[in-house]
Symmetry: C2
Subunit: 518 residues, 2 copies
């Protein structure tokens, strides 16, 4: 890699951003990957403008919203970028741009949009290719105007911006706060920092049809990736090799430059570890005969992503305890899915989910007693110490609030209901996209204290539970879109025990030779 | 992926870190990947301790060095980690640890080492696996002691630390400064912020035999990856697909969780763009018949990496102008490589390299006149607007100063010689590892102004040069280790025109079916 002196943002005539014969811009990574019209982002801007007009107190005509895109992110003190700049998700939602260092404004009356781009020296053309002009940005992203970043104040003054709405708020999943952005000359404007953030959150939660197309696409590609891993996995393979097959498939055949999150690929007893695979636990166990594989992986395309979990026996045949556990979890999925429809709340879903799991554990003889009482004793947390699912979209735990999560950390492990009735998204609505991910794990760290706890241990059949220890756990994660009268599951991997065993034994011919393409 | 509340560092009993039968810890990702003894890092600590004892002014007995490891890096306001935490390179060099949020000290007299780890609640075991204890760190990383981060001051006081050396300085490649780290209680110690940084730089530049083993390994794996891409590439393929094959190969077969930098995979006319492939130019051109592919890609293993560039015709057959350009660049590589030995300076290498390229351009009729005069007129910059190579190791542009780079940016495009005679590394020494990467590009952005410039244009044969425009360019990048009396090239891909054409026509059987393994 040729070195260069500290260089600002990339500018290049990118093949993936194209303009069709009638001037409509779109994004498409490769010939066989999804074509995404830039009107997706125009619609998002118009919808958000309407929300601000309707939702702002004392709305004044000719107000603008201001958004700051992601900046480059270097590795410590080096000149190496974190592999791939990834646009910030709000900015991608509204503008769909892939360059770092941009900002943009949207007129709240008209939805009119203006991008502001860094002013780069001509010389960067040698390193990064022909400089993108403001005109390039207008044509390829379908915004109305484009100026340089040092012109923001001049432009907004000329436009007689009455109020400038800024993003400021807290991400309820990460608990990371976003502070209002600053630019030179911002003191010239009447600022509102409270209106925009919750409206933007609400906007991202309700997907448009064009957004659903992208999520369907990435979910289809990722489902195919899961299927290929199912066929490729065999005893002796390292977990990270399974991960590499998935990311390779999504990139090679789906144009997915990134995955939505670090693939979680535990096997055997490690499948009880919920966020396995990241950082210092790099999917580095060898998968051995008899192991269950619990693979939680999703790709990403144009900054939209998905989140699918498959659990299967590496040798193609469930043992009795593996099968029983799997079918308890699958029944739990079905029980929740059957209830989902507009108006259903995630709080209800949570209750349905955990109680279904408890009922299954009773039916299989691991627990004994009243499901109501077990639920009150929070016994479900011993077997399923995580939430039941989450929004997805631009982030894997998409904005919209922490829909259901009970937190396991000591400092927060009070009896918190994350459900917040004030958040307008709580009752499900058509076109929301979520995952449902029940799991059942046999984790000594949780089982042993519970067995000793009189309020929980009295329901637990130790001799039965002990038979299941060592298999790790099962999680099944489906992605669904809320429809008018129910939901549509868009993840598509073999799900029943029979389907999985049959698929691994007799895979459809088309699914096997994906690697022979070259 | 199951959501969680804001969670600190990962802790998990990682399979990749193991202890052998006699208690020696090592790192090994998979059964077929390199085993790296943790004594590599012990040696680095001992060497650096000696440097401080020898190099510090007014050295006092029982001094310590303090290092802070990398922290987690999240994507904007989300709870999503930038895919994969990657340890900071100084910290990896000295400790080899993969967990974020650590710090460590080294006794300058004895090399004795102490790690400090975050104190995590037991509950993280559910999300990340069994908590790693201080004892685990001692056993698996071969450090002498391990305490919690909140014990740093107590421990250093008990140890009667006389002077505490901190890292503070500027990375001469990125121009990013590192400020001295701070911890609670640091005011209790006598601090020295000036001694350590340059000694650490000097230490990283001179590789030990154990480090060379790692660099040899990753260079071998990456060479294999390049070979597979050479065989897989064909007209119609997207550039990013070539990139995905490389990263897949390195991960699947080499255990490389990461690549050393964003793969640069331009084809055709785009191969003149030096840092193609990143961010908004995501290798998104379709490769067509007749294109040259210029693929600059390197893998990474245990935070050591490599950097190799291959240029080849996608259809397996060079055209005349492609072949001529390729052979000019290859001759330039050989000319420099033949001169490399201890004592040779990078300033000399630069001169040899650029003049060799100019000589070749004269021999092929693109230039006419005296090479001396062309060199003085900086005509080489028109055809090769970048440096001739760089150190590699823990970073792709490894520390050690900006050995040779002429900077193309307007603001810095003065007649700067980056060579700094005060930097002790300047004469090459045995066991330094560098790349040599001559290139020759036909870039209108550079050619057209040069043709109009009387001091440069007078040497240029426009009619000949015009025949070459449109093919983009050629770069050949080899990795070498300086030996006692020369250098050893460790990159291993087909290099001559004949070798490349023959390899693509009749690949060795073993190189083809790497994807049939599953």
């Amino acid at each position: 890699m040729g070195a260069e002196q500290s260089k600002p943002a990339v500018n290049f005539e990118v093949g993936a951003f194209k303009v069709d014969g009638i001037g409509e811009p779109y994004f498409q990574m490769g010939p066989d990957t999804l074509r995404i019209p830039m009107t997706l982002h125009r619609e998002a801007r118009e919808n958000l403008s309407r929300s601000v007009r309707d939702g702002a107190e004392d709305y004044t005509v000719n107000s603008y919203m201001f958004f700051q895109g992601g900046r480059k992110n270097r590795r410590f003190d080096t000149d190496i970028n974190y592999v791939i700049f990834r646009q910030e998700s709000y900015f991608n939602w509204l503008f769909g741009t892939k360059e770092p260092g941009l900002s943009g404004v949207i007129n709240c009356d008209t939805g009119e949009s203006i991008l502001f781009i860094p002013r780069l020296p001509e010389s960067y053309a040698v390193w990064m290719g022909p400089l993108r002009t403001p005109d390039w940005f207008v044509r390829h992203y379908g915004v109305d105007e484009c100026f340089y970043s040092d012109e923001i104040t001049t432009v907004l003054k000329e436009k007689r911006c009455s109020t400038l709405y800024l993003m400021e708020g807290m991400n309820r999943f990460s608990y990371v706060s976003t502070s209002a952005p600053i630019f030179e000359g911002i003191e010239n404007f009447t600022i509102d920092k409270t209106t925009l953030y919750p409206l933007a959150v609400a906007g991202r939660v309700r997907k448009t049809d064009k957004e659903l197309d992208v999520i369907r696409y990435i979910t289809k590609v990722s489902s195919e990736g899961h299927r290929r891993v199912l066929l490729a996995a065999k005893p002796g393979m390292m977990e990270y090799q399974a991960s590499s097959i998935f990311t390779y498939y999504c990139y090679m055949y789906g144009g997915c430059r990134e995955v939505g999150y670090i693939p979680i690929c535990p096997s055997g007893d490690r499948s009880k570890i919920l966020h396995y695979g990241g950082q210092s636990a790099p999917n580095d166990k060898q998968i051995v005969d008899g192991d269950l594989c619990l693979f939680d992986m999703g790709g990403e395309y144009h900054c939209y992503l998905t989140d699918i979990t498959s659990t299967f026996p590496v040798n193609g045949k469930f043992t009795d305890v593996q099968r029983t556990t799997y079918e308890m979890v699958l029944d739990t999925v079905h029980t929740v899915v059957n209830r989902i429809r507009p108006g259903f709340t995630w709080r209800e879903a949570r209750m349905v989910c955990y109680r279904a799991l408890l009922r299954n554990l009773v039916e299989q003889g691991l627990l004994v007693g009243s499901v109501d009482e077990m639920y009150d004793a929070k016994l479900h947390r011993v077997f399923m110490p995580h939430g039941i699912g989450h929004f997805i979209g631009g982030d894997v735990h998409d904005v919209g609030g922490n829909a259901s999560y009970w937190c396991w950390s000591d400092s927060q492990a009070k009896d918190i209901d994350w459900y917040d009735p004030d958040l307008e998204w709580c009752p499900l609505e058509k076109n929301m996209v979520l995952t449902i991910e029940p799991g059942c794990y046999y984790n000594d760290v949780l089982l042993d204290p519970a067995l000793l706890d009189p309020t929980q241990g009295k329901f637990m059949v130790k001799s039965e539970i002990d038979r299941y220890r060592g298999i790790g756990g099962v999680r099944i994660e489906e992605v669904f879109i809320v429809t008018t009268d129910g939901c549509e599951i868009i993840s598509d991997v073999p799900r029943t025990v029979t389907e999985i065993e049959e698929y691994m034994k007799n895979p459809p011919p088309d699914d096997i030779p994906f690697l022979d393409a070259f």
